[in-house]
């Protein structure tokens, strides 16, 4: 047999050993049995000791003679039925042990690789975990920032609303101011017309008072002449003596009248002079007023224009404030969304961190397992080696 040639020597020695062992095992028992039987037989049959020895020796020889062929047959049978398959088994066992050794070595290598991979994975997991922690805290910080940003946006939006409201009020006020200014311009124009009319009236008044002055001059001169006439009449009356006395009275009355006329004319003249002075002054003031009114009208025009510009600017401001408010509202919504997303991210990161922790734990466990596997593989390899060595010691025969 091809599988037997290697272990034929060992097979032989094995068979021998087995035989020997069988003998050693069975022999004393048989011998004791025989001896006991013999002793009992001798005791019962009253056989003397020597006979006994003989009988025993005989029995022993018989036994031996009987045993030898049995032994031979047994050995043959043993060799054929047990030792040959056993050798085969042993040789198979050896090859198996060798392949187990190889496999166990490979397993140990793989396990150690897995172990190192697990360690790497573990450290990577740790890093991921740290990263996730960092991410989580960053996201938290970002979330806080986003919240304050949202508050700022809302604040700005509220301010923009206020601004729009104020702008609206300002626009209304400016519009009112514009209307009032237009009214003022119209009034100023009316005042201007009135002043011009008044001015021409006063000028006419001046002319009239001058005419009156001339007339008063005439009256004064007439009064003077009258006075002179009355004076001369009085003189003539005096010269006429007794005859002129009635005439003298008339002359005196005429004189009195002329004096009163002169006085009245003088008063009128003074009044006319005052009126003329006042008129001249009034004309001058009217001219100044007219100039002032023109200036005022121009200023009112400018004011109106400025107010118009203010109205437009304020309108634009209101529109801009509107835009700002809506933009800020949009930004606030965006920020809210961002905040929610941040929270989601944080939750996911926390979850991931948990998973990573679990994974790390699992990896550690795995590492431990692989270590155990490696150790077991080592042990298995050792066992296989020892088995192989043990199998090598087998000598069937």
């Amino acid at each position: 047999m091809p599988g037997e040639y290697r272990g034929s020597g060992r097979n032989r020695s094995v068979s021998f050993k087995l035989t020997m062992m069988a003998w050693v095992t069975i022999g004393p028992a048989v011998a004791i049995g025989l001896l006991t039987t013999a002793l009992f037989a001798g005791f019962v049959l009253r056989v003397d000791f020597v006979s006994l020895i003989w009988i025993a020796a005989f029995g022993g020889v018989v036994m031996l003679v009987c045993a030898i062929p049995g032994q031979l047959a047994y050995r043959n049978a043993l060799r054929q039925r047990v030792l040959a398959p056993l050798g085969e088994v042993v040789s198979q066992m050896q090859t198996s042990a060798e392949s187990v050794m190889t496999a166990a070595g490979q397993l140990a290598g793989a396990a150690s690789e897995i172990n190192s991979s697990c360690l790497e994975i573990g450290s990577a997991m740790q890093k991921i975990s740290n990263g996730l922690d960092l991410q989580s805290s960053e996201v938290e910080a970002m979330s806080t920032s986003t919240e304050s940003m949202t508050a700022s946006f809302n604040n700005v939006a509220a301010r923009a609303d206020e601004t729009r409201e104020m702008s609206r009020q300002a626009a209304a006020a400016a519009l009112l101011g514009e209307e009032i200014t237009n009214e003022t311009i119209r009034k100023i124009a009316a005042v201007r017309n009135a002043i011009e009319a008044l001015s021409s009236s006063i000028a006419v008044l001046g002319v009239r008072s001058k005419e009156i002055g001339t007339i008063v001059g005439v009256i004064t001169s007439i009064a003077d002449q009258t006075n002179l006439l009355s004076l001369n009449a009085a003189i003539e009356a005096a010269r006429a003596g007794q005859l002129g006395q009635g005439f003298a009275v008339v002359a005196e009355q005429v004189n009195t009248l002329s004096e009163r006329s002169a006085k009245a004319a003088e008063q009128i003249g003074a009044l006319i002079g005052e009126i003329q002075d006042e008129t001249a002054e009034s004309v001058k003031r009217m001219e100044i007023s007219a100039a002032e009114v023109v200036l005022g009208s121009e200023l009112a025009d400018k004011t109106g224009e400025a107010l118009h510009q203010i109205t437009e600017a304020v309108g634009r401001t209101a529109a801009l404030a509107d835009e700002i408010a809506s933009a800020m509202a949009d930004r606030a919504q965006d920020a809210n969304k961002l905040d929610r997303s941040m929270h989601d991210i944080a939750a996911v990161a926390e979850e991931s961190a948990g998973s990573v922790q679990q994974s790390a734990a699992a990896t550690e466990e795995q590492a431990a397992c692989t270590q155990e596997i490696a150790a077991a593989a080592q042990e298995l390899a050792d066992m296989a080696r020892r088995l192989r060595e043990s199998a090598l010691q087998f000598e069937l025969d």
Binding site: D224, N227, L228, L231, N232, A234, I235, A238, R239, A251, E252, N255, S258, E259
Partner: protein, 160 residues
Amino acid sequence: MAVTQESRQFVLFRLGDEEYGLPILSVRCVICYMEPTPVPLAPRGIEGVIDLRGQLIPVVDISMRLLAREFEPEPRSRIVVAEGDSGLVGLAVDSAGEVVSILASDIRPASKETLPVAAAEAYEGVASIEDRFILLLDPAKALLETEFMPPVAEDGDGDN
């Protein structure tokens, strides 16, 4: 000229701030002031002559005589034509226009101390009417055609 009546009439005229009076009977008429025509070699105090209805009469600068200041014509200036001893004489005055009757008892003699100029002899006296103070001229002295400025005579001034 002595007039003894209860009251006498005077023609009043004004020179500056002073009011003067001439007895009405020594006045011929009062006319508006007209510029006198200067006369060559005329005595001092004579401004010139004027034509009064065809009659040439000399005009005396009575202002110079009584107040020692030159006469300045005004719109109301008058010439009082008086009858002097040597004929008609014009007196240029600032104004004239009133005839008053003054009681003889109201006339007081002019005191030489109170009168403005040394020519006190030209005055007959002074009279107070209400609050007015009137210097009454003596025509005989005041109307001399020639000058009377040099105070020669000490011969008293006529009646009271």
